[in-house]
Amino acid sequence: MKLQMVKKGSFHLFILAAFTVFMFSCKSGEKKQEAQEAAVDVDVSQLDEEMFKNINEAKEVFYSLPSPLETAMLVKSAGAGYNEELLNPVDNATKYSTNKSMALNLGIYTCDLSFASLYDQTQASIDYMNAAKKMADGLGILDAISQESIDRLEENINNRDVIMDIISETFMNSSSYLEENDRTAIAAIVLVGGWMEGLYLATQMVPDTANLSNNKLVQRIVDQKLSLNIIKRLLDNNKDNPDVQAIMKDIDALKAIYDKIPMTASEKVTTSTDKNNVTTIESSSSYKITQEVFDELKEKVKVIRSNYIS
């Protein structure tokens, strides 16, 4: 009888252990499978098809969007000026209570914080760091933005390099925490929030009189067409999340407008390396955008961003 019970217990144990291992095996293969589905489901251009054709061979697949810090730097380096009125007011931070709104605005406030810091706006940098902290705390991202980070920011407020380092570190704390805790949908939403804020700032800062075919900021805005399929794949990996589904609709609406902007890239790509060991990737690209399409894009971005910060 005892032997029978042991056997029966062992059998149960085997089944349960096998189930546990199976669950973990499924989990590790999840990204790969989702990436494979994404590669099949998403309508992509010829170049995208080439780019993503062997995607299912790797164990891990990362879709990397510009971080809010990089987004802000790209807007600034394209010649944008600083206009605090365009940023999401820090007082709005008290309004956000859902995971979706806090995630979006963690990205938005981190972009605004980066933007203010790049222009040496000391008080605004502190205020936006505190606003970003509220969002991170609300999302339960433990110690991503610690009081120590804020104190260090205040102590080094005139040292831009240190401030950039603090922003990058706090953002990595948030994104790694979310990834580690299987909250990849929230991590993706944070990135989309920061990316959208950068697009909003850039579109708002193009002067009405700008020559659209020869303007660095417009070039940067058009370049974002290249990131749309990466965003779609990033979101598609979390497509079961209702918040992600809502954001996908916004991205699809933007993509419909970007599809009206023809963009070509040279087929031939070469490289050359200088004496400092820096390689230049040599190629060319061109785009055509009409005033009508630019205005449509600007308005759509404004509406989406307004929804995100309301």
Partner: protein, 147 residues
């Protein structure tokens, strides 16, 4: 049955804690080891790290912008063989591979035109069948120069 459930809980906890520990180690590895390879570039703040085993690959897709100075850093835990990485354009042309540069951990580059690039990272297999393949953290990090 109670014993079985206890054992099951133990096994589950072992897997969960083991997985989370590996991931937490990767975060520490990325932050304390790999990020240093980016100096003097500014880390963009994004986190891309995973536990890979000998013979496994990871891929990363990212848009890079004209006029910016970038550095890629790809690092692996000490127990892993030297990590291979290649950078390809959309047409799958290899623009750079660190196999031609003594498995360098970093590559500095800039672009004349913005484009999507694919970074393929591989943990080579040592081919020693008498030992189990090693697993460890691999991190891919990006830095840029603030302008």
């Amino acid at each position: 049955m109670k014993r079985v459930l206890t054992l099951l809980l133990f096994i589950s906890a072992f897997f969960v804690i083991g997985t989370q520990n590996s991931q937490a180690q990767c975060k520490g590895f990325a932050k304390n080891v790999c990020k240093l390879e980016l100096v003097p570039f500014t880390h963009d703040g994004n986190y891309h790290a995973a536990v890979l085993t000998e013979g496994e690959e990871a891929e990363l897709y990212k848009t890079f912008y004209s006029g910016q100075d970038y550095r890629i850093a790809v690092c692996g835990s000490d127990n892993l063989p030297e990590i291979e990485f290649s950078v390809m354009d959309a047409a799958q042309n290899v623009l750079y591979t660190n196999k031609d540069h003594d498995f360098a951990k970093t590559w500095d580059f800039k672009l004349q035109a913005s484009q999507q690039l694919k970074i393929v990272v591989k943990v080579p297999s040592r081919g020693d069948k008498s030992k189990d393949p090693e697993s460890g953290c691999v991190a891919i990090m990006f830095g840029f120069k603030v302008k």
